[in-house]
């Protein structure tokens, strides 16, 4: 017995040739947008977590030889900090840690020993500590002129705003890609309806329900979208691995680390599925709408 074939020969439609490639491109772009947003969001969370509950005091190096006045200023600053309620610990960073912070900008090994660097004091606060940072900054300036207090709040707020903006842009990109997918599927489905109108009319007259005809279009769209979506996902994954590898070769932490985490993979894997769902539903609705106009 010959294998049963579907009534609508959709496999030979032109849409079968271009739709998977268009969907692959859209999923690829959506994957990149989403992975950028997720990477930045995770980096933002990491940075915020690392900086919350801390402050940094920067003591400028003195111009005098021997650093005697530096020691006096550092001691005065430490006295103020350790006497302040809510401060759990105040630690002067050793020079090698400061050099590690500078090296990403100057290059490894380019920080000479005689380069004057400021003294940094890492201040850890007790949980729920409330510090009057303005008053503290004034007090530190009095005991050690030129000293700066950085409580990171402004920086964290800006980082959060940047992260939220980029996440919003990524969401808008994904939304636009979803709309573009739907529009593409509408045009492809309408073309298919026009090509197969005689068979569709025959099925309609024989008594096929609209959903019976729509099912053939929606399965076709699902198949093409899954194929294109998978291709786009694979290309995006290869791109991310390549970028992660190149970023890993950079010294220091100038760029957020592209960690291919379960969250990222989950988000990326959901894209082709989401696009396939959009394609399926769009094809179904397009066909049902067209068939409703038939007698």
């Amino acid at each position: 017995m010959a294998k049963r074939r579907r009534e609508l020969l959709l496999e030979q439609d032109g849409s079968g040739r271009f739709l998977p490639w268009l969907i692959a491109l859209m999923v690829y772009l959506a994957c990149l947008a989403l992975s950028g947003a997720i990477t930045l969001s995770e980096a933002s969370v990491r940075w915020s977590a690392g900086l919350s509950g801390t402050m940094t005091v920067q003591i400028s190096p003195s111009d005098s030889e021997g650093g005697g006045s530096d020691a006096v200023a550092i001691a005065a600053v430490l006295d103020v900090l350790q006497a302040l309620p809510g401060v759990a610990d105040a630690r002067v960073l050793p020079r090698f840690e400061i050099v590690e912070l500078i090296e990403p900008w100057l290059g490894r090994g380019n920080v000479s020993d005689d380069l004057p660097v400021p003294t940094l004091v890492d201040v850890r606060l007790e949980a729920n500590a409330v510090i009057n940072t303005i008053g503290l900054a004034i007090r530190l300036e009095q005991v050690a002129p030129g000293t700066r207090l950085d409580d990171h709040d402004v920086w964290i707020q800006r980082l959060a705003r940047l992260s939220a903006t980029i996440s919003g842009i990524a969401a808008a990109v994904v939304l636009l890609i979803g709309l573009a997918t739907a529009a593409t599927v509408v045009f492809a489905t309408r073309a298919g309806l026009a090509v197969h109108i005689v068979v569709i009319e025959t099925l309609h007259i024989i008594g096929a329900r609209d959903s019976y005809i729509a099912r053939q279009f929606q399965f076709r769209s699902l198949s093409l979208a899954l194929r294109g979506g998978l291709l786009g996902l694979i290309l995006a994954a290869l791109t991310l691995v390549l970028v992660a590898g190149l970023a890993g070769q950079l010294e220091g932490n100038l760029l957020p680390r592209i960690a291919i985490t379960p969250t990222l993979w989950g988000g990326l894997a959901a894209l082709p599925l989401g696009v396939s769902l959009i394609a399926t539903l769009t094809a179904r609705m397009t066909v049902l709408r067209a068939l409703r106009k038939m007698p």
Binding site: M1, A2, R5, T202, L203, I205, I206, G207
Partner: protein, 234 residues
Amino acid sequence: MVRFQNVGLRYGLGPEVLRDISFHLAPGSYHFLTGPSGAGKSSLLKLMYLGLRPSRGNISMFNQEIATIDPVELPGLRRRIGVVFQNFRLLDHLSTLDNVGLPLRISGAKEGTVRDHVAELLNWVGLGNHLDARPPTLSDGEKQRVAIARAVIARPSLLLADEPTGSVDLDQGLRILHLFEQLNKIGTTVVIATHDQGLIERFRHPVLTLEQGRLDVKANGSDMTDLAPTGGAS
């Protein structure tokens, strides 16, 4: 079974191709529909198989008003109507078996049932050895029989055939009409559109004649307009 009341049909903004059509087909009746080319036979059949909506008037099928019926119920009504199209409307990429089995599959019949029923029917119409053949490999006469088999496979209550003998020789035409007679004897209402007066005279059934968009109902030359509704067309 089928009732038309003052039905008119026009395509777009064109003139009416059917005007004031009124008739009633009783269950189990058998009619020829005839008239010159362009008289509107195919249009009338299209209205009867719900392939068109009338521009005016009322159509009732199986005691349901088409104008007010819930669209969800239309496929169910259409399944009660078997149609033999003038140009067959077979699906070229499907086998004979799949073409004939379409109405059953659409109704949700199981594959085994479909195959058994279709094979039996194709044997009956003399195409038992063509189950896997594609329509392009069949002669016009064979295609005609496939189309007829598809129209009757689901045991329709109403069978409509548009020039079913138009592409076959006289012998095959007679065999096809005998087949319709057998279906009619088991209760199927039959309407056959044809302009073959020889066939109409040979099978002495009531005749619906369309001329210039208007319908006249007669039986073998005598006026039938005074016949009771259950006696056929009225």
